[in-house]
């Protein structure tokens, strides 16, 4: 077969794929007669009542001297690890605001950090293309620095996000600018599986974020600069289980819904979307018009413990609390008097759902708790 013939067949195949995609889109539109908010209103549901006194800033964690890029809670014991542009990871005790560890990183350009399920180690990654693991219990060297206990190298691009597999201290998943996600075995330092990449169908641009389902730790979802989110099964690395289209800009963040059947995404187009894992439908769009100003990008999201509330951090310093059922903003943490002054880069909910921590480019972290008699939802 000659080269030109092959080329022709390639072009024809692409056309077929595109037309099939169009058909799929049409079919979905037919099936999707309404979104969650519409249905909820029909049912007569009311937005949850949430006022400024329901979520108060109870702690301000100061100590970083550079922008905070990422944070993570422990599954228990209420510790937070945060990563900042000054090249340090700081482990905080969330209740007392004390710093228990300050880890100096070999590469100052860190983009992500994560706590292990047991709370004994932290992982971080960034522009140096490696994911470094630090054991918090290991002795410090003569300068008082913790040494890296394991370096996971193999990515050909920056490490944008990492997360430990729930209840497994020895496995973690990283996402990278080389368009792949990788499942690592920490004890050997080797890659167990590579999702995407050169010879497999995966993302076609930098992967920015990853989230593992709590109910089924074999499923995880990744969001990428190619405006899609992909669902993967760790047992099948060759191709994604499903691809979710809909966003019009880079998908900066993905997070599984607490029950594991849905997940939320946030993107540069200013919207958050809720997708259903089993059907593949886009269930809801969370977007608020901002007039003629520049549309703020969504930098990070988190669901409350029941899923009724969706916390969204934006690049203009706002932090909206959405009622997921009715797709309405019930509170803007960014407008409260002790809010962050710069872009909110990361946020996370504690394991028991009682507190939300936000990290920002103004170098501080703030912990917000449900105040008074407010029930945690």
């Amino acid at each position: 077969m000659s080269v030109s013939e092959l080329k022709e067949r390639h072009v024809a195949a692409i056309e077929t794929v595109n037309s099939l995609r169009e058909q799929l889109k049409q079919k979905r539109r037919l099936l999707l007669d309404t979104d969650i908010a519409g249905y909820a209103r029909e049912q007569g549901r009311n937005p949850v009542s949430f006022g400024p006194t329901d979520l108060v800033c109870c702690r301000i964690l100061q100590g970083h001297t550079g922008k905070v890029y990422s944070l993570d809670w422990t599954p228990e014991k209420n510790k937070i690890v945060s990563a900042s542009q000054d090249g340090r990871l700081i482990v905080w005790n969330a209740l007392t605001s004390q710093k228990t560890h300050a880890i100096k990183l070999p590469c100052a350009w860190v983009m992500t950090c994560a706590f292990s399920p047991a709370g004994q180690s932290v992982a971080c990654g960034g522009l140096d293309s490696v994911c470094s693991i630090f054991n918090l219990n290991s002795p410090t060297d003569k300068d008082g620095n913790l040494t890296v206990s394991r370096m996971l190298s193999g990515h050909k691009g920056y490490v944008s996000s990492c997360q430990y597999v729930p209840d497994e201290d020895t496995h973690l998943i990283t996402s990278s600018g080389d368009k792949t996600c990788v499942l690592w075995d920490i004890t050997t330092g080797l890659r167990t599986s590579v999702f995407g990449g050169e010879f497999q169908s995966g993302h076609t641009a930098d992967v920015l974020s990853v989230s593992i389902s709590r109910s089924n730790s074999r499923m995880f979802v990744s969001g990428s600069c190619d405006s899609t989110a992909r669902l993967w099964d760790t047992r099948v690395a060759s191709r994604a289980v499903r691809t979710f289209h809909g966003h019009e800009g880079d998908v900066n963040t993905v997070k599984f819904f607490p029950d594991g059947n849905r997940f939320g995404t946030g993107s540069d187009d200013g919207t958050c979307r809720l997708f259903d894992v089993r059907t593949g439908h886009q269930l809801q769009v969370f977007y608020q018009q901002h007039g003629d100003d520049e549309i703020p990008h969504v930098t990070s999201i988190a669901f409350s413990i029941s899923g009724r509330l969706l916390f969204v951090g934006y690049s203009n310093g706002d932090c909206y609390v959405w009622d997921t059922l009715l797709a309405e903003v019930v509170l803007n943490l960014g407008s409260m008097h002790n809010s962050h002054e710069a872009r909110i880069s990361c946020l996370g909910l504690s394991a028991d759902g009682s507190a939300l921590c936000t990290g920002s480019w103004d170098t501080n972290l703030k912990i917000w708790a449900f105040g008074g008699h407010r029930k945690i939802i």
């Binding site: 100061q62 100590g63 001297t65 550079g66 890029y69 542009q85 000054d86 090249g87 340090r88 100096k104 070999p106 590469c107 100052a108 350009w109 983009m111 522009l127 140096d128 293309s129 490696v130 300068d143 050909k156 691009g157 920056y158 944008s160 990278s176 600018g177 080389d178 368009k179 641009a205 930098d206 920015l208 600069c225 880079d250």
Partner: protein, 609 residues
């Protein structure tokens, strides 16, 4: 009050800021030493010596150069600082307002000091004049023998403490500690970050080998011997496999030339009807490009291995077994003839000649790459996509020494962050992390204009056009909206040479390059301003203008450019100095607008833009 509002760390930071800020610095004119006001240098010397006077406030002091004694005018000594500093005037006899008639280094000492001397066992009868050195040894003036040590006697420290007199202490400021560490600083200098200017260095992304700004990065990193044993081993293998690669290209070229010349010969023969050709077997026709059967077998094998991409697989065994064959090959007439025509081999990079000349040495197993080899080698990068280098100005040619005297010149330090764009993904999302750099330095390799590479889609594209695309994407990135850009046109020397052979118009972006070339062109650089510029210089200027126009059409601002010769350290320093000056201009907010401004490291200036 501050302590109540903020936590300790912030208070410390603020206080440190206050202490170090310019406005709160001690003005030297208010400090009088030995009756004379200090000038700036003297104050700096005082501050930077190994034992600086603590708590310097405006006032009158006296200073004993020989012993290092220091005190307030009219009082006994309060400290012992470094001796032999050239500050202030000569010490006066009544500096301490002493009335004991005993002199130390020309100064009448006070009663307390006299008491101390007596306790130390120094004979003070008869109004002696003593000469005391910094180590405490004393002699009578006019006499050579050292009588003893003032502070040598046990318990002297206690006595001195009791009498509130100073004793010599260990130096508090050892110069060694002020040297910055190379890759990362040991403590995040909270304050210094504010006065640290970051420069981001990005290069035109090619296919990963020669696309990076290898020149500037490697120039710094090689000097500082960054590579570990393992990395040196890897570099050696890289260089060797590169040489095999060049050899392969050469052999391919030889094949081609042989075919061409055979075709020409057979054409001649066929037009000449009187010749009986018989079989057209090529073995009868020998051209200068033909090689013997054994070498041909090796050549075919090497080419096959290269094409199948298994070149790395045959290492390092290949070096041992095939080295003699390679040696023979290189000496062969055919290869030499091909080598002469190497300019026609477009796949062969110009740097290959440096290595091929020494191929036999390089391919030996005990070959150790020299610094220059590493510098020229392609495909040699630092292990990750990003590298950082801190330096402070001024920098001499031996730039791995840090002048400690510059510490108080300004607090300005520079951090050069070099990014290997290819390694960080095509998308420029990672650029968001660099929104606080002072300036972005974009490197373009000038002699890429006729070189092609395979881009991400598998298409062969012109390297210069790829550079331009990358340049556009960086310049228009929202993170860099107000950022200053410095364009460095790199490898001017190689470019100057190449442009004589291959016209600039080979790159479609430069297709309107019509240089006005005068008839009397002198080749090498001469200092006469009447010399018209070389073709290379015209080309460089043209390229710079093209980039500037592109930049201003995209951003509406003006682009700074600089031309850098291949491996001359001075050239690189000049470019960095330019970068520094640009940053200084920004601070001082020039009143004039810079439109088409550019600086050259060559001297031709007689052509109009």
């Amino acid at each position: 009050m501050l302590k109540r509002l903020l936590n300790n760390l912030e208070v410390r930071q603020i206080m440190k800021a206050e202490k170090l800020s310019e406005a709160n610095q001690l003005p030297p004119e208010y400090v009088y030493v030995n009756g004379e006001p200090l000038c700036h240098e003297e104050l700096d010397v005082l501050k930077a010596c190994s034992n600086p006077p603590k708590k310097m406030k405006p006032g009158n002091y006296w200073y004993d150069k020989v012993s290092g004694l220091w005190g307030k005018e009219g009082q006994k000594p309060s400290q012992i600082i470094s001796p032999h500093l050239n500050v202030g005037g000569p010490i006066k006899a009544n500096a301490s307002s002493g009335n004991t008639e005993v002199f130390i280094n020309g100064r009448e000492i006070t009663k307390v000091e006299l008491r101390m001397l007596q306790l130390a066992g120094v004979q003070c009868a008869g109004n002696p004049h003593f000469w005391v050195n910094e180590d405490g040894s004393y002699q009578e003036e006019g006499q050579k023998n050292t009588k003893g040590y003032i502070w040598g006697k046990a318990g002297m420290k206690l006595v001195c403490a009791f009498l509130s007199l100073p004793v010599p202490s260990k130096p508090s400021n050892s110069c060694g500690e002020q040297v910055n560490s190379l890759i990362s600083r040991s403590v995040p200098d909270y304050l210094e970050q504010r006065t640290l200017l970051k420069l981001l260095l990005v290069g035109s992304s090619g296919s990963g080998t020669i696309g990076e700004p290898w020149m500037i990065r490697q120039r710094f990193f090689i000097n500082l011997s960054l590579f570990t044993e393992d990395e040196r081993e890897n570099i050696k293998l890289t260089i060797q496999s590169n040489v095999y690669g060049y050899l392969g290209i050469l052999l391919e070229g030889r094949d081609r030339f042989e075919e061409e010349s055979l075709a020409a010969v057979t054409k001649e023969q066929s037009t000449d009807e009187t010749e009986h050709i018989g079989s057209k077997s090529n073995t009868n026709c020998q051209t200068i490009y033909s090689i013997g059967p054994r070498l041909k077998a090796f050549s075919d094998w090497l080419l096959k291995t290269m094409v199948s991409g298994n070149l790395e697989a045959i290492f390092p065994a290949a070096t041992r077994e095939y080295a003699p064959l390679v040696e023979e090959l290189l000496k062969d007439e055919a290869i030499r003839a091909t080598y002469k025509r190497r300019n026609e081999l477009e796949m062969l990079p110009s740097v290959s000649s440096y290595f091929l000349e020494r191929a036999v040495d390089i391919l030996r197993t005990d070959y150790e790459p020299s610094d220059l080899d590493i510098l020229y080698a392609e495909g040699v990068t630092s292990s990750n996509g990003l590298a950082c280098l801190d330096f402070s100005y001024p920098q001499s040619a031996s730039d791995d020494k840090y002048d400690t005297e510059d510490q108080h010149d300004t607090l300005l330090r520079y951090q050069l962050i070099s990014v290997h764009a290819r390694g960080l993904g095509e998308n420029c999302k990672w650029l968001e992390m660099f929104e606080d750099v002072g300036m972005v330095i974009f490197c373009v390799s000038m002699n890429d204009y006729d070189q092609f590479t395979v881009d991400g889609n598998g298409l062969s594209t012109n390297k210069m056009l790829l550079s331009r695309k990358f340049f556009e994407s960086i310049v228009t990135h929202p993170t860099f909206e107000q950022m200053d850009f410095l364009l460095i046109l790199n490898k001017f020397d190689l470019f100057e040479e190449k442009i004589e052979r291959a016209p600039l118009t080979q790159c479609e972006w430069f297709d309107d390059f019509h240089p006005v070339v005068s008839r009397h062109r002198s080749n090498s650089s001469s200092n006469s301003i009447n010399t018209s510029p070389s073709l290379g210089q015209l080309g460089a200027h043209y390229m710079a203008v093209k980039f500037k126009r592109l930049y201003s059409s995209l951003t509406g601002r003006s682009l700074y450019t600089s031309v850098v010769k291949g491996l001359e350290p001075d050239s690189v320093d000049a470019a960095l100095k330019y970068a520094r000056e640009i940053l200084k201009w920004d601070e001082e907010k020039p009143n004039f607008s810079l439109t088409e401004y550019s600086m050259y490291s060559t001297e031709a200036s007689s052509y109009s833009p």
